[in-house]
Symmetry: C2
Subunit: 372 residues, 2 copies
């Protein structure tokens, strides 16, 4: 069998990610590859650190992009911060909280689960209870914006409770970064990871990551090395650190980092507050249109993510058939439900470059036509 | 400070990788992103598996690309195949054998080291001795083509010894894949990983990986889950498997996979044997030119990699100054020495698209001028 070049169609990506990519980012992606130890590349990495610090609203010197997708960013937090026998309070209100539990257990830690229903935010009162019941806990882990349900949790409140009990926080900001306020320094979050392919509208494959001074202290005080060599941030630090000679750790994904740099330049030029406002505005337009079609939201208004709209599939509608029609007739991707919401909900993303008036218009008209 | 777009120069990449990228691969990289569960993307992944099977010369159904660089491909082999307490014979004749030891130990395994000098191949007689001395060993791990020294080891012979002692093999083929013969099925290798950015001339960030039926059996018989969630191939299998519905594991690096697909289409069109011959031919031309400059090789002719030429820096020559001049005056990157060879050797890569007559000519003339 002869296999030729793969020529993908031009889709409009309004699922849970990857989101629509800025044309400038695709352009940056295909610029000439240079060496990962080239002085010009190292200069680019220094800029990238500054741009990531802006996006995360942090001064943390350890602010980098993990050379792998968000799931690896999650794992980088757990393998570096959890030592065998550590107790970690894990908040679970969707798929990704459960993945955090998996991570804790694979690190030899003990996961104490704080459960909220799918579609609800994490309840800080339950976190407080768990902290009181488990004075041995050293970490609280939670998802800021649950990609599986579209619920936003109060990261500031949870982090405050954690500090009161002398715990570090591990925060999943995969879907929140760039879409809703995320103030790493002001809220005193300790280990925060994200993904390139959500509200940053960069290609998938990288995971922005920032560690506070408290997190770095815990890593430096480890009694055993991190179980992962690839994700051992005490080694990665030698490559990303701004001081003097870079030490080789692994070959950086050069072109993907060009793309992330460009996406962050675009975010900085727009301004974080303006980007957040744009996500809110587009969400309001989408919401009005969906409600006019009789479609209801999974998450209460107070905790709803503007960039990820989980809505119930109307009664009697064939989930897969509608999504296939949107894809085939309109080149429009919306997301299926995940986990407990599989077959019951759709997830309509308005992330980064996808949060534009023309996308909302396309989505509403196409849905209206297909649902008739 | 205002940070603008990063515009890299056009370098000629003749270091140890990343190598020069095919223009067609950069073009493929920037094609429109589609969803990682899009039926068209899944079709592309099926083609990619076939293309990887061709490159590896294997029929292994489990043949994929890990969504992260070669170091993660290495770790994927160890975390899946090594269980706590397992004894692993690790051959070390350069940097990457030692990284294998790190991996074994972080998995809770016991590494039995077989050492050869830097620049020498692994000696099968020493492997045989270690196998006899350690009947409890279950795995033999070695580097086929040592990127740090340019030495090629006899993978077929080592794998045969391993099988005689009922051991699986973990093989680093990061620099060998596409550059020299690597016959996974004929040589009966069990777990083989590579990198996208060497002789495949694709962008860095992906790690081709193949597991034999024996390796899959060992994974399925594990008593404990792999310590890495991200690299747990029993989970990844659900996403890459050709049968029926794909299950979501992590968001695939969509555009990088387009690029790898294109690079493998180019390799298939050229033909593996032709690619191997081109590497040999370019190596002979480079070698003649280097010898004319009085430059000598680190590795004996019999075990020398055509695609990675480690040569001694001539007496009295300032390593860093020459490399900086090549980079600044000629936009030419050659590699520094690594580990025991730091400051003593250069590594001149002729990998994939970089193995062209014009590159060899540029390198020889530029070196001649700079060394005067």
């Amino acid at each position: 069998m002869t296999i030729g070049s793969f020529i993908p169609p031009q889709r409009t990506l309004m699922g849970p990610g990857p989101s629509d990519i800025y044309p400038q980012v695709l352009q940056a992606l295909s610029r000439p590859t240079i060496g990962h130890l080239d002085p010009l590349f190292i200069g680019m990495m220094d800029e990238l650190k500054q741009l990531l610090q802006y996006a995360f609203q942090t001064q943390n010197p350890f602010t980098i992009a993990v050379s792998a997708p968000g799931s690896a960013g999650m794992e980088a937090c757990f393998v570096n911060l959890v030592e065998p026998g550590d107790t970690v309070i894990v908040c679970r209100n969707g798929v990704f909280g459960d993945r955090m539990r998996e991570n804790v257990e694979r690190c030899g830690g003990i996961a104490v689960m704080v459960d909220n229903a799918w579609g609800e935010p994490v309840d800080p009162a339950l976190v407080a209870e768990a902290l009181t019941a488990h004075p041995e806990a050293s970490i609280v882990a939670f998802v800021h914006a649950e990609t599986s349900t579209g619920a936003l949790s109060d990261a500031e409140a949870i982090a405050k409770l954690a500090r009161q009990h002398d715990c570090l926080t591990i925060v999943d900001a995969v879907t929140s970064l760039g879409g809703v306020p995320l103030l790493v320094d002001e809220w005193q979050l300790d280990a925060v990871y994200s993904g390139s392919q959500k509200c940053l509208s960069c290609v998938p494959g990288l995971s922005p990551l920032t560690f506070s001074a408290r997190a770095i202290e815990k890593i430096q005080a480890r009694k055993t090395p991190a179980q992962s060599w690839f994700l051992d941030q005490s080694l990665v630090l030698g490559y990303w650190s701004g001081e003097g000679k870079r030490s080789y750790h692994h070959t950086a994904p050069v072109n993907s980092l060009y793309a992330l740099h460009e996406a962050l330049v675009l975010l900085k030029n727009e301004g974080l507050e303006q980007a957040w406002q744009r996500h809110r505005d587009m969400h309001q337009t989408l919401r009005a249109g969906l409600e006019a079609l009789g479609i209801t939201f999974v998450v209460d208004e107070a905790h709803r993510l503007p960039q990820l709209n989980a809505v119930y599939i109307p009664e009697g509608v064939d989930d897969a058939a509608i999504r296939a029609r949107l894809l085939n007739d309109y080149n429009l991707e919306i997301g299926a439900g995940l986990g407990a919401l599989a077959g019951k909900a759709w997830r309509i993303g308005l992330m980064g470059y996808a949060a534009r008036r023309e996308n909302v218009a396309l989505c509403l008209r196409a849905l209206e036509t297909c649902l008739k």
